[in-house]
Symmetry: C2
Subunit: 564 residues, 2 copies
């Protein structure tokens, strides 16, 4: 027998906002054999929009099905060109999606959007993570939960978001009672896909992941699963009735959701019966694919960031104010999963490039031009300081109604100086998250990043290393989320006894490490103290001063002006 | 006799930073018959620079002489083409210059820079108003004056500037003792020119203007003229000795400095003996040329602004904290002259256009493009608020170490929105000056502007009207400073008994008036309250909070970073 004859493989399928990627991976070493990206055909770049309502963002669940079939079939075909790969050596499949992206389904688990009656009804489609139509419901949930003395907000930073499960479902009940009534249950996209491909779509029996349940639906084993009937009644009796048609127990991703059914297996060129892991969110799998472990913060840097950590279940973890999720098993089974993040990072740099980049830097790639000039500056040399709140603050202030700030401009301030100040601002924002973790006993020894910016922008990586005064590493795989999904495929396939063992073999970092420059770290420590003063003055309700609330006042004035 | 046979004329000569303008005016109605601009031939755009020291800015006094001869000769020649003009009908000449621009001179009043020994020595030339080499001396003067309990700072906003007379002379003594020793006396440019053309150059006998003396050299009749010997001794015994070689009495511009000497008269095509008014600064004459009177604020809007008012001498005016000059007779003889200003206005818009204007607005005239887009916005609609301190704050904080601030940016903020926020910031800064005047009993009923921006930028004018909630008018003459000089020429020539009468006939405003929009004024009142909070938090030493001093801390960090 040849040396490759014993090789085994798993498949990770990563559903993003605009497309889905399938990745075939060698379970022994994480080597990637074949991949394929499928762009969702519906709507604008895969998103169903309402020109009258900028808060609305929906998705066609049929795209998730065609996406699985096309991307997996193509990735398997591509892997077939590599030595040693054979479809019958695929031992498991893992799935991650965006979230919270709940889908209203009928008694059999069929999305209402895929029925004749509702296929043209936007409210019957998947409510994409970035749909904010339920912002009023979110505010009410926060208010009612705070008043009721229930513990539900403690694990999600004390503020419930419009992006999350109950805000969306409640909003549907309020604006589209026909859809709400027709929906026997609601299923997160990350549970829908494993259910569909394994034929386990019965809403009452299918596997539900603890990642979506714990981070977005206020599920916690400690308090008996989902929020109580009496609490949900305070929102709406209809939500209280829905509770029994959801789930009692949510599972971690080392559990098997089911096995690939023949009808699907045939279409993707795989044998039937392959185990499929319980699904979870993309950022959580990205953390696993980047090798997250206690002491390692994984930053997924894109238009926004997700900052992911795990902490041993051995000791009881305190609630961490402002950290938007603490859920046992949501990232690595057997550990607390912690999720934090910044509402805008790459989006801020893109905004600057699109709105305020002068012609001398806008030819070719403005990011490259500005970074090159900004790299020549020393920390503090511009005299500028910025806050990174152009899209609000997700962690630790949990306040979407905050805005940007730039201070220190003179008549000589240049575009690269502002660009660098914006990078520094995002670094300071990230350090605020790190410090909050550490204040509550979750130590951050190193930072591993993944995402395009981490690979492309050496200036940002060095500034982050200097500001954090910690080493910055880069996830080896440029598709860490899909790799994380493949890792859970391998665990579901029984190749490894636990996720940590699978990560050790399949995940890793690049050899390039950005180490902090001690002199720069000292300079940034001084600037960070000023950032923190500014952060508290403009963002903390406890701060007493006329400037507190200034950003909200300006938003109020703006909204009145726009209304006329 | 023809109808024009009785016409009389006066000539105003306005020395700016880069050039000098001569203007021939009909004394009956202010009609402008001929003008000529002469660019100073020395240095870079008329300024002598030191590549090693960005604070240094000097000027060749010989350029002032050639400037008078060329510009007046050409303006007279041009006027000669107009009906009724004849050189022998010129009844008076007025002169204004930049300031404080002191020139070291010998016993006969000859500038040292025009002697063989010193002509290559930068310290022997005119120390141009924007020379900041004496910033350490300025800080010491402020400190010593405050500690000594002398009243000298009360009339200049409680802070002595590096742009002013004693800072410059003292710095010369410290860095160029040879020049200081050779200088029998020091003469302001605005006194030097009238002295030269009338042949009265003896430093002890020549006419010295109260405008330069009072605003820049701490001269005040109340305390016996220049600062006392005992005070000057605390700075340096050498300055104390210099005092007796300066002047005892300074004069207002309705006084005659002397009469045109034949040698000069011949070269400019005028008869000898024409009376020449005592000189003053350009902004002060600009106010007169724009019709300044009690209740009318004249704003000279350029790269920075000068905000000029007059107030009756009938009642004793309180000192106004932060207003950089209150001098009897410095603008209109017989009234208090009040000078305030903003360190940067046009400069801020130019900075934005040069540094942060994206390509879609940079073709053609970016100011026009940005203004057109910004004009479509309602007050408050951008959600932005800015401070106008990119070049520090001259009035009312008198602090060069303040910097810009922008708050409210989102991911949708556009360049025209920022541009408008910067215009609004300068309007709020201007309103702060107006309010300070009114708090101390100097009422501002209307605002008359002059300068290129006032003529060209209707958006700015309307925003100012709305923010001030007052009418905005525009000076009729686009060269208001030179017209003001001509008005004093007419007074010196005996055409009018007082400056007010001359102004009524010779100065005026355009018919276009920008009136406040009441709804916009209300919206801006709300934004101004927030501007004021921000102003006090970042700019007022009395404000208690961590943000106070933030801009200075950033400048400190910047300067250390630049030094390495």
């Amino acid at each position: 027998m040849s040396k490759t004859s014993g090789k085994r493989f798993s498949i990770g399928v990563d559903y993003g906002t605009n497309s889905v990627r399938a990745l075939v991976v060698d379970v022994d070493n994480g080597k990637e054999l074949g991949t394929h990206v499928y762009n969702y055909p519906s709507g604008k770049a895969g998103i169903l929009l309402d020109p009258k309502d900028p808060n609305l963002a929906r998705q066609n669940p049929a795209d998730y099905i065609s996406g699985f079939l096309v991307s997996v079939a193509a990735a398997v075909k591509r892997a077939g060109k590599e030595k040693g790969f054979r479809p019958d050596r695929v031992v498991g499949i893992g799935i991650d999606t965006t979230g919270s992206t709940p889908i209203p389904v009928d008694r059999k688990g069929v999305p209402l959007a895929m029925t004749a009656k509702f296929k043209r009804n936007l409210n019957a489609h998947a409510w994409l993570w970035k749909d904010h139509t339920g912002h009023e419901e979110a505010a009410k949930i926060t208010e009612i939960a705070r008043k009721s003395g229930v513990p539900y907000l403690a694990k999600c930073g004390m503020t419930y978001s419009s992006e999350w499960f109950w805000s969306k479902v409640w909003h549907c009940r309020n604006v589209a009672p026909d859809v709400f009534k027709a929906a026997y249950s609601w299923v997160e996209a990350c549970d829908f896909v494993p259910g569909y491909i394994t034929g386990n779509t019965d809403p009452l029996k299918m596997a539900r992941g603890v990642c979506a349940a714990g981070h977005k639906a206020m599920y916690n084993e400690e308090w008996g699963g989902l929020p109580s009937v009496s609490f949900l009644k305070k929102l709406s009796p209809d939500l209280a009735k829905l509770r029994s048609r959801l789930y009692r127990k949510a599972l971690a991703s080392d559990q098997v959701a089911g096995r690939l059914v023949p009808a699907v297996a045939r279409k993707v060129g795989l044998p039937a019966g392959i185990p499929v892991a319980v699904g979870a969110f993309d950022a959580h799998y990205g953390a696993v694919g980047s090798g997250v472990k206690p002491g390692t913060l994984v930053k997924i840097i894109g238009t926004s960031t997700c900052d992911m950590m795990v902490s041993s279940l051995g000791r009881k973890l305190k609630d961490i104010p402002g950290v938007c999720g603490i859920v046992p098993g949501s990232i690595v089974p057997g550990m607390y999963g912690l999720e934090a993040g910044q509402s805008a990072v790459g989006d801020i740099f893109n905004w600057f490039v699109n709105s305020l980049c002068p012609p001398q830097y806008s030819k070719g790639d403005p990011h490259v031009n500005l970074s090159r000039a900004a790299a020549k500056l020393k920390p503090g040399e511009s005299g500028l300081l910025a806050l990174d709140w152009n899209n609000g603050n997700r962690t630790i202030l949990v306040d979407p109604l905050l805005t940007g700030l730039l201070i220190g401009q003179t008549l000589h301030t240049s575009a690269p100086e502002v660009y660098r100040a914006l990078i520094e601002a995002t670094a300071f924002g990230a350090l605020t998250i790190i410090n909050r973790f550490e204040e509550y006993g979750v130590k951050v020894k190193e930072v591993v990043t993944c995402g395009g910016i981490a690979e492309k922008n050496a200036l940002l990586m060095q500034i982050y290393a200097d500001v954090f005064n910690r080493s910055m590493k880069i996830s080896r795989s440029p598709q860490a989320c899909a790799l994380g999904a493949a890792i859970f495929g391998a665990v579901a396939g029984g190749v490894y006894n636990d996720t940590g063992s699978a990560q050790k073999r399949m995940a890793g970092v690049k050899s390039k490490v950005y180490k902090p420059n001690k002199a720069h770290a000292r300079a940034y420590a001084e600037l960070y103290a000023m950032y923190k003063d500014m952060h508290d003055a403009f963002g903390t309700p406890r701060f007493r001063g006329k400037l507190n609330g200034a950003m909200k006042k300006l938003i109020g004035i703006r909204d009145r002006a726009r209304k006329g």
